[in-house]
Symmetry: C2
């Protein structure tokens, strides 16, 4: 009955059960040393009455707990990212661990703030879903298990990576575009600060060139990985003329471009074909017209959780370059 308002501590339980705090700890944990049945019963009764659960903070300080991971995601608004995050969280939960989720918003300063938060919380490992290069990241990687998902930071080749071969996927997209023999191809690529966007762009450009249709600078424009930015980019592009094939750096950009197409009266996919990247889980519901690259987000989660376990064990997992599928809708 002690401290009816505040949260009960191990001391309260010990007092109520008439045993030492050491016995309470032993009874609560499978760990070192057993306790007699009588002690266990007393402790369990007291714990139940006081609604006691051990303080994670106390445990963490003691240095034993290592069951918390952090996920830094560039944008929670992107359903592809949030699907990966959720699949990872589910798996961690299943093994009794917890995940803290932070948004970096593609901003190095904000990412560093997240990382500081993460560091001070002594997490066991950090998943970075679309990292940006930032000073704090280099420091973090020195004393924490870190894993890149979907995007790596070029200056940190030692950090394990889970993703696809974006260059080859982009090449395949470009070839599929060429097979349709469009009159004019527009390209809205992602920000070149992102290694993934950069590699995708290389794939697009080289395949178009190889197919005898090198991209014209006037037909290309850069966008952030958002619907808003894709919309703006499409607006600029269509000011230059008409396009019947629009190749986009990811699905979010494609959604934005789609809206602009509608506004200027184009029917999709009748008047123009739009190509994205990721296969956002929304597509099957809301964007059946979108051609895209199906990135295996469930396998991303599996590989990431597995790779992290290896890292925690002190081993360096292989980079996982997973298979993708080209999804052409017609």
């Amino acid at each position: 009955m002690t401290s009816p308002s505040g949260k009960a501590s191990i001391k309260d339980v010990a007092r109520a059960a008439g045993v030492s705090i050491a016995s309470v700890s032993r009874a609560m944990n499978a760990g070192t040393g057993g306790v007699s049945a009588a002690t266990r019963a007393k402790v369990e009764k007291a714990a139940a009455e006081l609604n006691y659960s051990p303080s994670w903070v106390g445990q963490a300080l003691r240095g034993q707990t290592n069951d918390t991971y952090a996920m830094i995601i560039s944008s929670i608004q992107n359903n592809f990212f949030s699907a990966v995050a959720w699949e990872i969280e589910r798996r961690l939960n299943d093994q009794g661990a917890a995940m803290l989720l932070f948004n970096s918003n593609e901003d190095p300063a904000l990412q560093d703030r997240c990382l500081r938060e993460v560091t001070s919380r002594q997490v066991a490992g950090v998943f970075l879903l679309c990292a940006v290069d930032s000073p704090g990241l280099t420091v973090l990687a020195k004393h924490t298990s870190v894993l890149f998902i979907n995007r790596r930071v070029d200056s940190m080749p030692d950090i394990p990576f889970v993703g696809i071969d974006d260059r080859s996927a982009a090449t395949e997209v470009a070839r599929a575009v060429l097979r349709e023999k469009p009159d004019r191809i527009g390209l809205i690529h992602g920000p070149q600060r992102s290694a993934t966007s950069r590699v995708r762009l290389e794939g697009f450009l080289s395949a178009f060139a190889a197919g005898g249709r090198p991209m014209q600078p006037a037909d290309m424009v850069e966008a952030e990985l958002s619907m808003e930015s894709g919309y703006d980019a499409a607006r600029r592009l269509f000011n230059e003329g008409n396009f019947d094939a629009l190749v986009c750096g990811n699905d979010q950009i494609a959604y934005g471009a789609y809206r602009r197409c509608r506004e200027i009266g184009l029917t999709i996919p009748g008047d123009a074909a739009i190509y994205g990247f990721d296969d956002n889980p929304l597509n099957q519901w809301l964007a059946p017209w979108l051609n895209t690259v199906s990135v295996p987000h469930i396998r991303f989660a599996e590989e990431a959780v597995q790779g992290m376990a290896m890292l925690i064990d002190g081993k360096r997992p292989q980079d996982a370059i997973l298979p993708y599928d080209l999804l052409l809708r017609r």
Copy 2:
């Protein structure tokens, strides 16, 4: 140069700077007692060299830190929910606080696990975006600041709430439907375990009855708040006949119904009008055909953060029932 691999502690900094740990603490914190310029300089130099940042765990155990909040969200896959979560996180970040995000997946057992996680981490307060009723919730509310967003738990009327008047909004939706004089109206409502879904259903039913078109049981079906479930529900509904107006419990359900409509060859909004609820941020990009209730998610975030601040201060904020907008697309 101590412990080059592990994270530097306050002791390492004190040793490197040649001062006591108390002085390090004072130099790092604005709090009690200043330090001389000389001491501060030494500490800052040492801290920078060792890349020291105070351990949140140590601070939390000491009982001072209270800058962490938790958000329990029912599904990260719903863009409306994730938009609210992100707006709240941004605001907390701006005031130097952090937010931990957990998924309950509408599962009481999983929600309780999240809550246990939350409790043991000594968070300052918990935002519940679409809570379910669970034993742990009642306990948590006794010693932690808790706030409901978008959905309340009926058995806990004392917990502050941020939301809209769902009954009245549903009534307006139903009236708008009737104005179009559809041949046959189908209704796919949300799960009745959710107070919000229940109240919306009441609004729909009473307005239809008042308008002289009481709903027939065969024209109604219940769904979970997901696209998958909305799709299934629509399939069942269309097995019963044809509908040219489909009223859905939320936008996710509406997306699922939309897919089913496409599959059976219906043009939206030509052959049938679909009505949702929430105005998911995606709509403007991907679902311009959807009629819906625009729920002010930014204001949800503002009110929630403000209300939480009051709770922390020991005051009980008023429930915030915010204005909504009917969005009719034609």
